[in-house]
């Protein structure tokens, strides 16, 4: 959820330099970050979790989570994340609900800033996750919450018996479009190319659904309306021909972007901005580990992120032990 990292107001939460040095800092508080915190806290690493201005990750904007093991009846995303947080805090993790605004991994201890407040950590786990992408149109921003949405589960309800459009050609777009058929009278899928990228089974469901219409080679150029959305400006990506589509809602589902702006020039990022790992959860920087959606664009599940957080905590503890920052005898027998 921390797509943009606004400048922090930088109020001091820690009062002395002593409290600002930590064996382990964890940046991010979704399933990866908080699982790392649970493991690290139980290994007496007293982790400091920089939970961000919008803490607890992407599950905070979901409703029912039906596939997290241990909850046979399903659980609400925000409830699940509060349980993660409770468990991390129970074992002594400290959480600061503010964004890290700058890092310096060029020397050890590693340095992190929240506004003007500096923190130091021997080891760092980067678990900042990913955020939904927007089209980047000015008119899209203007109508956000007035017909433009990136969260079908949050907002679908308000489009009962209305005509809407979904932008995107991947699984997320297909899932959102099918979910929105519960409410909308017609769902037009706007796909930039002439094929979906999503799974075959989801494509078949979309093609078969009487409320779903697919428009290939189409991109959105403009969102128009008075108080709320009533029309989209479209362009054919092959012929360049402009057209309009009357709709009351526009749902954006064009994929995700890893939250790695903070680490540019510090960690190796691939061409899409994902952190690159160098064996397990290690990065090329000694003492810096990554976990969750910030490097994983394949699975992107709460349970895989949690598993990754566990691996990162174990890797971090072993590394701290290997460089003598913690005594070998205190290292946990996992």
């Amino acid at each position: 959820m921390t797509a943009t990292i606004p400048p922090s107001t930088g109020t001091a939460d820690a009062t002395s330099t002593d409290t600002r040095h930590h064996k382990l800092a964890i940046i991010g508080s979704g399933p990866a970050g908080l699982t790392a915190a649970i493991y690290a806290a139980r290994a007496n690493l007293e982790p400091m979790v920089f939970a961000g201005n919008t803490p607890l990750g992407q599950l905070m904007i979901t409703s029912d989570v039906e596939n997290y093991p241990g909850f046979p009846g399903g659980i609400q995303g925000p409830e699940l994340m509060q349980l993660f947080r409770d468990q991390a805090e129970r074992f002594g993790s400290k959480l600061l609900d503010k964004d890290v605004t700058r890092v310096d991994f060029s020397q050890r201890p590693h340095r992190l800033w929240v506004g003007d407040d500096e923190y130091q950590a021997d080891a760092v786990i980067v678990a900042t996750g990913a955020s939904a992408l927007w089209l980047g149109l000015e008119s899209e921003e203007q109508f956000r919450g007035r017909g433009v949405s990136a969260c079908a589960t949050c907002d679908g309800f308000f489009f009962r018996d209305r005509e809407i459009a979904v932008v995107g050609g991947g699984d997320t777009a297909l899932e959102e479009a099918l979910f929105l058929t519960r409410f909308a009278s017609k769902v037009t899928m706007l796909v930039r190319r002439e094929a979906f990228r999503g799974s075959k089974i989801m494509q078949d469901r979309a093609f078969a659904h009487p409320k779903v219409v697919v428009r290939w080679n189409t991109e959105v150029t403009d969102v128009r309306g008075e108080m709320t959305v009533n029309e989209l400006g479209l362009r054919d990506t092959v012929t360049g021909e402009a057209s309009t589509l009357p709709v009351q809602g526009l749902f954006i589902a064009i994929g995700y972007k890893p939250n790695t702006d903070l680490f540019a020039g510090q960690l190796d990022l691939d061409e899409r901005g994902y952190c690159m790992v160098d064996g397990g959860t290690r990065t090329k920087v000694e003492g810096v580990f990554v976990a969750g959606d910030v490097h994983d664009h394949l699975y992107r599940q709460a349970v895989t992120a949690a598993g990754d957080g566990c691996r990162a905590a174990i890797d971090a503890e072993r590394w701290l032990e290997s460089v003598g920052e913690i005594e070998a005898s205190t290292a946990t027998n996992w």
């Binding site: 919008t54 409703s63 925000p78 007035r146 309800f157 308000f158």
Partner: protein, 108 residues
């Protein structure tokens, strides 16, 4: 007592539109994740600025007329009503500092 008051289709006019102070109204629903995240922030802002602004909550599931009347298409949506009219609108989650910044003119 500064906790947000719960208002509905029937009480909205008296409690919000005819209120003396500007009123920050939280349009939410029980199934909405970000709403649960935002509600404590609304409460905190209401408590911190109880002399300047009142706070209220509208359950959009139970009060669809209000949701329609104010063109709610996304929740959480916060609307500040002043002198019976919409004076500001905020959509989506934001932390307390950001909310106070956006509501500065009402909190001064």
């Amino acid at each position: 007592m500064t906790a947000p008051i719960t208002v509905d289709d029937a009480t909205f006019e008296a409690e919000v539109l005819n209120a003396e102070k500007p009123t920050l109204v939280d349009f939410w629903a029980p199934w909405c994740g970000p709403c649960r995240l935002l509600s404590p922030v609304v409460e905190a802002v209401g408590e911190a600025h109880a002399d300047k602004i009142a706070t209220a909550k509208v359950n959009t599931d139970e009060n669809q007329q209000l949701a329609m009347r104010y063109s709610i298409f996304s929740i959480p949506t916060l609307i500040v009503f002043r002198d019976g009219r919409e004076a500001a609108r905020l959509v989506g989650y934001m932390p307390q500092a950001a909310m106070e910044e956006r509501l500065r003119e009402f909190l001064a």
